[in-house]
Subunit: 452 residues, 2 copies
């Protein structure tokens, strides 16, 4: 059988009734977590620019914009995808290095709202979308990730899968959906050098392209049948090494969404190991930055590739500086959304400590990546003492989990611009999603909160 | 100086007044040739599906659809890009292996119409868009072309450049336009295995993504400054080998649009060398297919990669079968749009001769590719005689040119669904484009013809 056909059969045969209870619970938390990030990001400049573009272009009132108002499903996926990635608090999957929420959920929400589908339909589509994203990502990781932003590239297969599920496409149509999705997969890491706004365009476009692919397939539009494993397909073109079996092994039996990691710190996930260790040490010791001579962070190569930046010049870039985040976490004892801003960016104490942070690759930690996103920190005190701390699992990983209560708390903080009552009602709706008859009602609630 | 900055300076400084007269004339022919292909393709099923999607999504009335009516500039670029590639008669540049018209021109037309710019503005933008597309393509050819559909990937830089020119963006904004364009560049050759409709989505999306990139940059949206030559940029991610100097050498002094090749046969350009030779031989000899024992086509590797198909099953796939096209050309003595259809696909005589066509790589011809897209054909007759014919330049290459009269004739044929008077008036308008005050008037003329 063909690989795309395997995936199509999996998507076609997945039913809400067959989902284990923990998968349903986990998926609702993912959706709640998505909304928190999307609300918090909706007024950021790059999102406003994409939003302005979409309003200028116009579109039928099919789906709700997280920024207010309605537009076409393609446009809504674009804006609502861009909005949910920018505060750097959206979920992440270690083995595939993918933020699935920011691509899969906005695409699924737009279609579920437009077609007035149920909460159960939405949950099932999100499960399927995560599964396909993660499996494609695992198949090409880690080589693909050097150049390509997995969230966008592999995520396109996920948003397309979720939409195909919601549209109840047939097996052949799903094969074509994947073909059109894969040939639109794009997103280069080059933006990271300048901290360019491009990063927000990536998930937005991946969500939008998934929507377009499935809607076209529904009309009979054909795509490559072997888009992943073909001679001129995604695997060979966009990765040095790939493992086809990662797509099919256990497909339909496991639910990878429960491997999801949730972010507590508002920075790149590759900075979280060191931040956790700094925060722990601060709690234990109440150390001040003046007492520290040097800090050495030893971690995996990819973290160095993405986050070795000893002089970030924007708030956004600071979230991708391992040196900065390490210093900030030690000084503030926390690394949430409120910790990152222009004032903190130029804070003398953070800047000074940051200069004393060295980052380097540890071969053993690197060997275990991406199964473990680990780090060792060595804190040399001026007193002569050296403290060493280590973690394999940043907070929020399934092995070091956050609780549902912590995630609800995170949601309440991220949506703090909305009235508190609305926030609580909204969270309740998401936590009871399986009894929601019409996703339109959920999306209406995002509007109510905006209006009030 | 940075590479993107070089390109930005070139775009910013190019003025209509500085364009040589032959460049202006050539560009008008490119635009006319674009419209011919777009009219002829506008009712084909894949285009209709994309058109239906766009109408469903809706959009402000900003630009004319070649399929009738108006929509947003992004949507118009998508549909009008898809429409102009499907009859396989759109222009091609040898050294970069790019069909620039189908990506650059729909994007430029949409913006020029929306902003009510002049014919001179349009010509200048198209010159710039072709130049950037071709140079990016040359820089990564031939290695990029194995996996990637240059027209779509490199073309995205071209559509973005043309739109940036029309919007009169500043140097910094153009750098960001290129950044956002390059990170959206996509389009895998895998579709060719099935002759999937994806091929039409590629130029449409490339046109649309160029429009989005420039409009976002105008709003202050930032992209990677080194999208081409950065460590995680387009060149390194998407080609095994690349030549940066192809971008800058002679930039602003040469005008690569005059290196353009026009297509006379309605099939993949990689089949034209053999078709030309077959048509010549048919003219000379009036040979019938029964007299032929075998035909051997020797050509470059890329032609084999793309067009070695001894059993095409759709009209569209037949245009990408070197065996089929060779047989068809010999039997019919021509290979225009009317020659390819379902009846011809299953024609016994063509099918029978096709089985006797061998295709193979010739190392010497391959060495000269892509400067020369050559072929040698050996025709073994049942009589024992063998005829050998050779060409370095398929008809329509600058070295083997078609005349303006032939291109006008081609346009009249391709737009045959429109009333003849309208067609002639429309062609006159394009041929006098430098005196057109408002591109809206040109696009209105496409509507008049549709209505009448």
């Amino acid at each position: 059988m063909e690989l795309s056909q395997d995936i199509a059969k999996y998507i076609k045969s997945t039913k809400y009734e067959d989902l284990p209870q923990d998968v349903v619970s986990y998926t609702k938390l993912c959706i709640l977590d998505y909304f928190g990030s999307a609300f918090a990001g909706s007024a950021k400049p790059p999102v406003k620019m994409i939003d302005e573009l979409v309003r200028e272009m116009g579109g039928e009132s099919q789906a709700t914009l997280i920024t207010g108002g309605e537009t076409s499903v393609a446009n809504a996926a674009l804006v609502n995808g861009a909005a949910s990635h920018i505060v750097e608090l959206d979920d992440i999957h270690k083995a595939s290095i993918i933020h699935a929420a920011t691509v899969v959920i906005p695409a699924a929400l737009a279609i579920a709202e437009w077609k007035e589908l149920s909460g159960k339909d939405l949950i099932t589509a999100v499960v399927v979308g995560y599964e396909v994203s993660y499996r494609v990502g695992e198949a090409v990781s880690p080589s693909h990730y050097y150049y390509w932003h997995n969230t966008a590239t592999c995520g396109t297969f996920g948003s397309a899968s979720a939409v195909a599920k919601l549209l109840d496409l047939g097996e052949e149509e799903i094969i074509h959906t994947l073909g059109s999705a894969g040939t639109q997969a794009a997103g280069l890491w080059e933006f990271i050098e300048d901290g360019a706004m491009t990063k927000q365009l990536h998930p937005g476009k991946a969500a939008m392209n998934g929507v377009i692919s499935a809607l076209l397939a529904q009309k009979g539009f054909t795509g490559a049948r072997k888009i992943l494993d073909g001679d001129r397909g995604f695997f060979k073109a966009m990765s040095d090494e790939f493992q086809v079996e990662k797509i099919t092994k256990g497909l339909g039996e496991q639910f990878k969404i429960i491997e999801n990691s949730y972010k507590i710190h508002a920075s790149c996930r590759h900075t979280h190991h060191a931040m956790d260790l700094m925060i722990d040490y601060k709690k234990e010791s109440q150390i001040s930055s003046e007492e520290i001579d040097r800090i050495t962070v030893k971690t995996y190569q990819v973290a160095i590739n993405i986050t070795d930046n000893d002089d970030p010049n924007t708030e956004y870039a600071s979230k991708f500086s391992l040196q900065y985040c390490t210093a900030l976490a030690l000084i503030n004892g926390q690394g949430g959304l409120d910790q990152f801003n222009d004032q903190a960016l130029w804070n003398d104490e953070i800047r000074s400590l940051m200069k004393r942070v060295d980052v380097q690759v540890d071969p053993e930690i690197d060997r275990l990546y991406p199964d473990k996103w680990g780090a060792v920190v060595e804190i040399q005190l001026k007193s002569g003492e050296t403290i060493t701390k280590q973690t394999d699992y940043p907070k929020g990983d399934p092995e070091n989990p956050v609780t549902a209560v912590e995630l609800l708390d995170k949601f309440m903080k991220l949506s703090h611009k909305l009235p508190e009552d609305d926030r609580e009602l909204f969270a309740d709706k998401v936590m009871a999603l399986e009894s929601l008859e019409n996703v339109k009602d959920l999306m209406k609630a995002t509007k109510t909160t905006h209006v009030s």
